[in-house]
Symmetry: C2
Subunit: 135 residues, 2 copies
Amino acid sequence: MKIGELATGSGCSIETIRYYEREGLLPPPVRTSSNYRDYDDGHVELLGFVRHCRSLDMGLADVQRLLAFRQDPQAHCADVNGILEQHIAHVAKRLAELQTLQKQLLKLRARCRKEVKACGVLQALNDRLPVHPSK
Amino acid sequence: MKIGELATGSGCSIETIRYYEREGLLPPPVRTSSNYRDYDDGHVELLGFVRHCRSLDMGLADVQRLLAFRQDPQAHCADVNGILEQHIAHVAKRLAELQTLQKQLLKLRARCRKEVKACGVLQALNDRLPVHPSK
DNA sequence: CTAAACCCTGTAGTCACTACAGGGTCAAGC
DNA sequence: GCTTGACCCTGTAGTGACTACAGGGTTTAG
C-alpha cells in the first residue's frame, strides 16, 4: 500500500509518517520501481502502536523504547511498567499544575468583572510574583 | 542594573531576558560604555508583568497584546477580558484532555499488574485506535 | 597582574510535527 | 498522444519558548 492509503487508514498525515521513518520509529518500507514507499501489514500494525502511544501523550523517545521491548524477548514487563509509571507521574504533575492555573485565571476574571474602570486584570497581572529559586 | 541582577531578581535566566528583548516584549535598555545592558525600574516592572502572564501559561503573543493594552489609553477592559476568556477556555480544554488521558493510563497500568507473563500493556497498546477523521 | 565572574553576539538545538518549494509519476478522459 | 489532476519524492524551514553553546570582551577582587 502507498503512503496516502496508510495515512488515511491510520489517521495521521503523510508528512508524519515520513517523519517517523526519519526518526527510526517506522522501518523504511520497500520501494516501487518509481521510488514510491510500499507498506505492508506489519507497518500498519506498528504505526497503530505508535499512534496509540502518542494519543496517550507519550514522547517519541518513550515510544521508541516500548517498540524495542516489543522486539526483545529478554525484556521484562517491569521495564514496560517503569515507562508507564513515569508517564503517569508526569501527567499527574501537569494536571495539578493546570488545576492551580485554572483557579488563578478564574480569580483574575472575577477581578475584571468588578473593576471595569481601572481594569483590575491588568493591575493584578502587574503584581509581582514571588520569585522561586530558578535554575 | 545589569542583566544578571535583573535575572536573579525576576527569577528568569539571562538568555530569556535577551530573548524577550529580541521578540519585542522588553524594550532595549540603554547600554553602558562597555556595551552592557543597563536596566531601570520600568524594566523590572515590565518583566514582572511578562513573567506573571507566563506563569499563567499565556503565549507570548497574548502577553504582547496585553502589554500594548497597558500602553494604550484607548484600550477597553473588554479587550483584556477577551484575551483572558480565550485563555481560560484553552486551559479548560487541555485540562479535560489530560483528565481523559489519566483515566486511560490508569486503566493501562491495571492491565500490566494482572497479566505479567504476556505483558498486557504492550498488548493493549497494540490495539488499534478508532481513526478519527484527521485533517 | 591575573583569574574568576560577569557581559556581548550569533548560531544551533529542543519536540513533534507542519508547510512549503520544486520536482517526478500515474491514471483517466479527450 | 496529450493534458490534467491526483498522487508521490526530497530537502529545507518554520512553529513556541526558550536553552546551550562558541568565541570573544570587560570588570573586579585578591
